[in-house]
């Protein structure tokens, strides 16, 4: 991924940029010379105003409507408030966080573990998506139809996905996966764990519940198509001459993929990774659409149930859950950006 550059960088600095004779011709100049990026001070007055607006307006929007409320939520996590009248909150220090880790530990840690499972699972789904993209990229007949079919679940809203899986596939009385069974499998409600283990210091065992595994199937249905489309886009931009060169050199398909395609796909890899991680952390729509059976809670659901709700919610507690979610997301983002920034510097 290209670095986030600061002052003097130039396309021509990177050694892997191929010749651009056409562009140079268009620009009507001799093959490129070293050029500095335009500095702000070199611009005219009206241009400065324009640039100011171009940067200022979106930034203002973003900060006022996203970041200020986020900061306000962080502050609210240290209060107890029913969310009804402004100003009726009371400060309680770290009590909300204390509750999460002691009183609600039987909800919080299993939810966190479910997020972790989701993370690993979506990573695996991405691999399947990559496989499908790779196969489609080979120029099979009707690849456009295959693409559309795989992408179809992505255009549906998550509520619809949840509803379809619950009523058509999972239902005990008429779901396809239970057709013809004497003892139907309870995909939606069975909260017994497929595997479990005890962490020292925790009363509740952690594990993967059967109904969460069922939800994972529904999520895979959607995530695989999404990743496939992104990867296909990237694969189509890989220069075929590179692949030809590799195969002429005697590489097998797998070697070609690993040594030639994958490195070129690095930016897409990163985007897919980021999207998968964030979706794993933020997931809650499908689970709420299934009416949150026990055993399927994730952090997003805990946030939602406490922050919104008939009684106004426990805004302080919900905000505390939200802050934990925020820290997890931000932690990952900071790691990712720092990683890329550092790579560019070196």
């Amino acid at each position: 991924m290209d670095s986030v550059s600061t002052h003097v960088t130039d396309v021509s600095d990177s050694p892997d940029v191929p010749d651009v004779p056409v562009v140079a011709a268009l620009a009507g100049m001799a093959p490129r010379s070293r050029r500095r990026r335009l500095r702000y001070s070199q611009l005219q007055r009206s241009d400065k105003v324009w640039l100011g607006l171009m940067v200022g307006v979106p930034t203002a929007f973003h900060i006022v409507f996203v970041w200020l409320p986020a900061i306000a939520t962080i502050i609210l996590s240290f209060t107890k408030w029913d969310g009804i009248k402004l100003g009726s909150w009371t400060g309680v220090g770290f009590r909300n966080y204390w509750s999460i880790f002691t009183v609600f530990d039987s909800k919080f840690f299993p939810a966190l573990f479910n997020n972790l499972i989701l993370l690993v699972f979506l990573g695996l789904c991405s691999l399947v998506g990559v496989l499908l993209a790779y196969l489609l990229d080979k120029g099979v007949q009707g690849s456009r139809i295959y693409q559309s079919i795989y992408y179809l679940p992505v255009v549906l809203s998550l509520a619809v996905v949840g509803f379809i899986w619950k009523s058509v596939m999972f239902s005990q009385s008429q779901g396809l996966l239970n057709l013809g069974r004497d003892k139907p499998i309870d995909f939606v409600g069975d909260s017994h764990k497929l595997f479990e283990f005890h962490l020292p210091g925790l009363d509740t065992p952690l594990g993967l519940t059967r109904n969460f595994a069922a939800i994972l199937i529904a999520m895979a249905w959607r995530h695989i198509g999404y990743v496939m489309v992104l990867y296909l886009a990237g694969l189509k931009s890989v220069d075929p001459s590179l692949r030809e060169a590799a195969s002429i050199d005697g590489c097998t398909e797998w070697q070609t993929f690993r040594r030639v395609v994958l490195p070129v796909m690095k930016p897409i890899n990163v985007v897919v990774l980021v999207i998968s991680v964030i979706e794993a952390l933020r997931a809650f729509d499908i689970i709420v659409a299934l009416k949150e059976p026990i055993g399927t809670t994730v952090l997003g659901v805990l946030v939602k149930k406490n922050l919104t709700g008939e009684g106004g919610g426990q805004v302080g507690l919900g905000s505390a859950y939200g802050v934990i979610l925020l820290l997890l997301c931000l932690g990952f983002i900071i790691w990712y950006l720092a990683n890329n920034y550092r790579k560019a510097e070196s």
Binding site: P18, I84, Q172, S191, K291, I294, T308, G309, Q314
Partner: protein, 473 residues
């Protein structure tokens, strides 16, 4: 992309034949037209529940919509007629009404009721469950009058000053029994709620099945257990059971608690005054655990509709649910065959005169825009005409007003009215009798965990008790 060129392809090459100008122009025009039309027409909005609009053109406008479609749509909006529910000219002008009667039958029924009021009412319908979930946001900008439920759910908002005091109207209401008045009263002794209708929870059965197998209605605990055992031996599932949404099994808890510990203990427990780890509470769960083997298994993954279907097909012999169970079917033979009996007594000292019979009705906003109109509307809704019009369409609940027309009642409705009138204490159902956040965050999950694995009862009860103070304080 093949070739050595580095820059992005010309739009034409990738099939994008619309030029940039056309694209931005079209999109901006479409959005501008939609914007103007909406702003311009907001003074003439039609009532939402009977939307039979004059324009049938689907107004979906993807970014490449032609500008002509947008302009014709804009002109039709300006000429749209308002469509309020009645042509009356009341003293206070139009009254706004927030409704959660979202499905087809209910929305037609409430419209009939509001028409019968003779007032000019503008209905704002939201989907049923979303209305409750979103209520605190709704109360930031409420309608003048809106639908709600009796019990703790009303008292909770009364305490916070979010709803209007209508004790002055209640002084003139003669058609309600004392228990309804009690259900409409806040903690400060003032009335806030206008009851509309109710429906009891009872054990439903099919008369033909009982006749065929020679079962009789149980009147106490021993008879109930004997009946369940006999049904099981006959190859039936004694009780249909479902818990999708995590609310249905709360009915089981309610009735068992009221039968074993009495109505007052039940109310106190839900208010947080009694303990969930108390032996009296534990006794309820012990009884429940002894009954569970006679219920359909895997209830957590079944909707009440699926359970009702099993009951209709005579796979299950009984179903303890509200009388809305009939809504699942249109088979007249089944509906004629359907009957219910009161959950039998479990402790002779306590008897069987308490039951769940949730009451639905209306509240007034704390500061309604049209206070006079709101009060007029509430008075009309408290009278018999509106509920008669409502039940003529809805046909399954029972009017709260004692002078309502009962001649058109089905057998079930008549029996429901009889059952509730004989009851000494009426509970509103667990999720209406206590803090809703407590229910959605603690009770729902706890009961579902119990149904999944009754042996965990001790840890479940102690975690409820531990978590209760966060929500009930």
């Amino acid at each position: 992309m093949s070739g050595a060129t580095e820059h992005s392809p010309h739009p034409r090459d990738v099939g994008f034949s619309i030029t940039r100008r056309q694209l931005i122009g079209g999109a901006s025009a479409a959005s501008l037209a939609a914007f103007l039309a909406a702003c311009g027409s907001d003074a003439k909005k039609s009532d939402s529940t009977t939307a039979a609009p004059t324009t049938t053109a689907a107004a979906a406008a993807p970014t490449t919509a032609a500008t002509t479609e947008a302009t014709t749509a804009a002109t039709t909006a300006a000429t749209e007629e308002p469509a309020s529910s009645a042509a009356g000219t009341p003293a206070g002008g139009q009254v706004t009404f927030g409704s959660n009667y979202s499905d087809d039958k209910d929305s037609r029924a409430i419209k009939a009721a509001l028409d019968a009021s003779g007032l000019d009412v503008k209905i704002n319908t939201t989907d049923h469950n979303g209305f409750q979930d979103n209520i605190t946001n709704y109360l930031a900008q409420p309608d003048d009058v809106f639908t709600w439920f009796a019990g703790y759910r009303t008292r909770f908002f009364a305490d916070k000053g979010l709803i209007g005091d209508i004790s002055d109207l209640w002084a003139d209401f003669g058609d309600y029994s004392d228990s309804f008045k009690a259900a409409s009263t806040g903690n400060d002794g003032k009335q806030y709620f206008v009851p509309f209708y109710y429906y009891p929870w009872a054990i439903h059965y099919r008369k033909s099945l009982f006749a065929e197998k020679g079962y009789s209605i149980p009147t106490n605990k021993d008879e109930l257990m004997a009946l369940a055992t006999k049904m099981q031996a006959d190859g039936l599932i004694p009780f249909a059971y479902a818990n999708d949404g995590k609310w249905p099994v709360q009915g089981t808890f309610d009735i068992l608690n009221m039968r074993l510990n009495g109505y007052q203990y039940h109310v106190d427990l839900l208010a947080g005054k009694e303990s969930w780890t108390d032996p009296k509470t534990k006794a309820v769960f012990t009884m429940w655990a002894s009954l569970l083997p006679f219920h359909q298994e895997n209830a957590n993954g079944r909707t009440w509709q699926e359970a009702a279907t099993a009951f209709e097909k005579k796979e299950a012999g009984m179903y303890y649910l509200g009388t809305f169970v009939a809504n699942n079917s249109t088979d007249q033979e089944y509906l004629d065959d359907l009957d219910f009996f009161n959950f039998p007594e479990l402790d002779p000292a306590i008897g069987a005169d308490a039951l769940d019979a949730p009451i639905d009705g209306f509240l007034m906003a704390a500061e309604p825009k049209n206070a006079d109109g709101a009060k007029e509307l509430l008075k009309a809704l408290a009278g018999p005409d509106t509920i008669n019009a409502f039940l003529a369409v809805q046909g399954s609940s029972v009017a709260a007003n004692s002078t309502a027309d009962v001649s058109g009642y089905t057998k079930i409705q008549t029996k429901s009215a009889e059952l509730v009138s004989k009851a000494k204490s009426i509970a509103q159902f667990l999720d209406r009798d206590t803090s809703p956040d407590f229910v959605s965050n603690v009770i729902g999950d706890a009961f579902a965990a119990f149904v999944a694995d009754p042996s965990q009862v001790d840890s479940i009860l102690s975690s409820i008790e531990e978590q209760k103070s966060t929500y009930l304080s």
